[in-house]
Structures are given as C-alpha cells and as structure tokens.
Amino acid sequence: MISRPLLVHTWRTHRVRVALIAIALGIWAWIMPVIYATFGRSLEVILHSGVIPDAFLRVLGADPFSLDGAVALGVIHPIAIALFVVYPVGFAAAAIAGERQRGTLEVLLSRPVSRRSVFLTNLVATIAVAILTTAAWLLGTLVGAAAYGLGDRLDAGNLAFLVANVVLLLAALAGISLAASASFDRLTPAIGIGIAVVLVSYVLEILGTMWPDAEFLQPFSVFHYLRPMDILAGRAAPGDLLVLAAVLLASVAFGLWQFPRRDLAAPS
C-alpha cells in the first residue's frame, strides 16, 4: 500500500527543510536545560515572589524552573509548538490538495498508484518527519542536560513516554490535515482547517488552564492530551495516548474513505 518511489520523491523534495526544522528544534531543546542551569535559581525567586499571577504560572506548569519544568516548557512553548507542527500540518495539508491545485496529482495518479496508497504514503512520510524532528528535540535536550552535568536527573522512561506522546500528537494533527487535504481541490481550505485545529486547540487548552470556569473546554483540545510536566514527574496518563490514537485513526479512516470516492475533475 506504500509507494516507495513516492516516499523517496517526497523525502528528496523536503529533506533540506526537514533538516532545518530538526536543527532548530534541537537548538531550542538544548537551550532549555542551559537556561535552567544558568538562570533557574534567580528566575524561580522572581516567579515565586508573587509578581506573576498564579494563572500564568499554571500555564507554564506546576514547577517551571525545575529541570523537568524547563524541559516540559521546551515542548509546550508556542515556539516549540510552531516548530513541531509546521510539517505535520503544513506538509500534510499541501500533500494532496497542493498537488491537485498545481495539477501534478493527475500525473501521479495516471500511474498504477491507488489514491489510498497516495494517502498512506503521505501519512507515513509525515509521521516519519514527526519522529525525526521529535528525535532532534530529544537529542538537543539530552546534550543540553549533559553539558551541565544534569543528564542523570532526567528519567529515561519518562522521556521515552514524552517522545511517544509528542509523536502521537503530531501524527493526530497530520491525520486531520491530510484528511482535509484529500477532501479539497485547493490548498487554502485544507491548510486553513489544519491551522484552525491547532490554533483553536491551543487557545482552548490555555483558556482552560488560566480560567477554571473554562476547564470543561480542555478535553476538546488535542493539546490537552500532551502533559509533559506530568509525564516527566512520573504521572503519565496512557489514556492520553489512546485519545490521540483514536483521533489519528478516525481522521485516517475518513481520508481513506473520502479520497477514493471523490471526483477529480480537470483542473480549472
């Protein structure tokens, strides 16, 4: 079901951009233990002095300037989110709708490649990028912690769970974007849906964290099912993985159902 030539072509086309994102995430992740080791004590004093409202502290996590808190912040900070999701959302949304808009999809589909194969190959490519960029983030974190002699303070099991949780979150977002991509002839609505899901989810999660009356909104956010601080503190919730896996499976099932059924009229 996976088209090897399409997979190789996709990798060749995107490898430089993927490498740049992976390097950026690696550097970002490396900075977090460095900030903790260099400024952690003084920032903790400021944060706990009462100058910053509790609601904002809750957004950062329960203990933002422990090593675990710094690493967790490195995952949920808007910069990290933007770097993590740029490919799972951007590439996945463009994968089918973009080819359709450019008119190259019919050259691809004039070959003996089924639409389901095109969908699944793009899904595999996107998840592979998610794994690669998350691995770069992990490497940056480990190198940063090791550079300041903090490596032994990170629990390998918790980190592995966090990596799996991040990859599954990105895969769920990729599944949603790819399903949107398979449903439209134009890139704009497909990428619009992908970005809207990310932004609305992020806002719901932040809103629920800062404002107790809005907590009921959090379960509707995919980001609610990634709790890095809890995971690194040893309070991982396997149920979160199940929810994200269900979102991924539902979006993939929709894409595999919808794409082959669609009429692909001549590009206008």
């Binding site: 088209s3 090897r4 030539p5 399409l6 072509h9 086309t13 450019r102 008119g103 190259t104 019919e106 050259v107 691809l108 589909l109 004039s110 070959r111 003996p112 490649v113 089924s114 059924r261 009429d263 692909l264 009229a265 001549a266 590009p267």
Partner: protein, 322 residues
C-alpha cells in the same frame, strides 16, 4: 479485442451545494456515450472546448466516477480496476503540469519508477522530439510550454503502453515538432499500439486518425472512418473553359452548378468518376477540385445538429402552446 468500450456512459456534475428547500442541481457533462475503440487504431475524439472530451478521458482513467453506464479499458472495468488500467495505459493530460523542481531527467526517471515498467522508448522519443541531454538536465521550471509538452509526450509513451490516451497532444508544439509527433503516432500504429486522442485541431485528426468520434455538448454526434467521412464531403469544383460548357445537370453528385464568363463552378459529392466521364473532351484551360476537409464535415455536423435541436425546440414550443 476492443481497447476501449463504453456503454451508456454518463457523467453529471453537481452544481453548488444542496440547501434546505433547494435540491442539488446537476450539470450534464457527458450523456449516454456508447463507443468502441478497436485495438491497433488511432482514434480521434473531436469536439470544441467544454464538449466533454476530457470528462470521457477522466472517466476511462478512474479520475471521475460515472453517473450511469460503464466503461472497460483493455478489458478491465475503468472504475473497479482503475489501478490495473493505469498500469497498461500511457496518459498525457491536457495542459500538463509537471514537477517544476525536478530536472527533465529526474522527472522521467521518477515517473518511470511509479509506472513500474522500464522506459524502453524514452531515448527514441527524446531523439525524435529533440530533447537533448542538456535540455533534460535543467529544471522543468526553466522549460518553455513547448518543451513541457514534449516532456509530457515522453512521460506518456516512454514505457511503451498498450494504449495511449492523449488529451490535446500537439498543443504548444511548433509545426516541426507536430510533424515529429505524427511520426511517433505512425510508429505506434505500426507496432500495433492503440492511441485515443482528443483534439479540436481538425487537420491533425484528419492527418493521423483512422476513425473519429465527434462529441457535441456531451453527446456523440458521429463515429466514423475518417476516409468515409471525407468521401461523402462536397468538394468545390472550378473549371476555366476554352469552349462550350459540358452538360452536368444529370451527373450524379453535382449541385450548385453555375456557368458564366467562361467559368463553371459546382459542388461535387461522392464518387468523382461520373463527373470525370462527363467532362471528357471538354476544352479546358484550368480545373481545380478542392480536397474534402474534415473541417467542413465537422461544421456541417454541428450545423445539422443545431438545426435539429432548434426544430425540436420550436416543435416543443408549438406543442406546449396548442
């Protein structure tokens, strides 16, 4: 075996989204098309823009799903077995878009891999279409429209498909390259391959096709041999006379006869031999018989269909008024 068979093939597109109280409207793109393309022939599918040519091609390749009817390509159902169909077909889309970031070489190699069949004809096709190594090594984005069209032709035929489906194949080609392309089609015919191509260039269809189908507003207006279509056409005859005019009034196939100022003009339809026999011994200074053109047949068919539609509409109006 037939290369393509369609039976009552119909495609209606949905127009706009259904809303409460307003059912979805459907626009007919192809209506009840029944057609057979024989193995080994070059079959032209003629019609103006928007007549339904590309819709039929996209139904054959499984890009569109028929509203009614069915089609088989190389004995395979175009809907249920579209992947198997595409493994044996070469396709050139109309106004082809290519991967701009790749070089010509990379593009052809990528599409060869996707085809899963070796590109046995690539070198020959590139040579015929004057696609040099230098041209193939530059990015497709730097190529002119004509170059892209040539790449499109190569990608469609490089793996020597049993059936080539070509949508407006000579678009963007200069006259020399058009001639080279026609020679490629002649080669394909000689090697027993089937070619189905859509066009609105009548001279091209007349030059290369064995049979043509003419489509008008989604319906088949005619399916005929090019030779017999042309044989039935009226040819314009002009004679310059040096003596008395011949009596052509009783000659079969002669109409629009006009004589004056030492000049005779008429229209000649069908077998020319009675006409040639009738002018034997006539003193002439010049004789011109214009060749029959597919264009005239095409326009005549269209005019005939339009007149029939108008008559039907007026009958309908009269019927509803009475």
């Amino acid at each position: 075996m037939s290369a393509i068979v369609t039976a009552g093939l119909t495609k209606h597109y949905r127009s706009g989204s259904p809303r409460p109280g307003r059912p979805a409207a459907f626009v007919p793109a192809l209506e009840d098309v029944t057609l057979e393309v024989r193995t080994g022939e070059i079959f032209g599918f003629l019609g103006p823009n928007g007549a339904g040519k590309s819709t039929l091609i996209r139904l054959l390749l499984g890009f569109l799903h028929p509203t009614a009817g069915r089609a088989t390509v190389l004995g395979l159902d175009s809907r249920r077995e579209s992947v198997a169909v595409r493994a044996r077909v070469g396709y050139l889309p109309g106004g082809i878009s290519l991967y701009d970031g790749l070089t010509g070489e990379e593009l052809l190699a990528y599409l060869e891999q996707l085809s899963g069949r070796p590109a046995t004809r690539r070198d020959l096709l590139c040579e015929r279409l004057e696609l040099s190594t230098r041209i193939l090594r530059r990015p497709v984005r730097d190529d002119s429209r004509g170059m892209r069209q040539k790449l499109g032709i190569v990608q469609a035929l490089q793996h020597d498909p049993e059936l080539a489906i070509l949508d407006e194949p000579s678009e963007g080609l200069d006259p020399l390259m058009q001639r080279a392309f026609y020679e490629i089609l002649d080669d394909l015919r000689r090697s027993g391959r089937t070619v189905f191509f859509s066009s609105h260039v009548l001279s091209e269809v007349e030059r290369v096709c064995d049979r043509v189908a003419i489509v008008r507003a989604g319906r088949l207006a005619a399916v005929e041999d090019v030779a017999s279509l042309l044989a039935r056409r009226r040819r314009r005859v002009e004679m310059r006379l040096a003596g008395p005019p011949p009596d052509l009034s009783a000659v079969a196939g002669i109409t629009d006869l006009a004589i004056g100022d030492g000049r005779l003009t008429c229209s000649l339809e069908g077998d020319p031999r009675p006409f040639l026999a009738a002018i034997e011994g006539v003193e002439l200074t010049d004789l011109t018989i214009e060749p029959a053109r597919l264009e005239e047949a095409f326009l005549e068919l269209y005019a005939g269909e339009e007149a029939a539609e108008a008559a039907e509409a007026s009958r309908g109006a009269a019927g509803s008024g009475s």
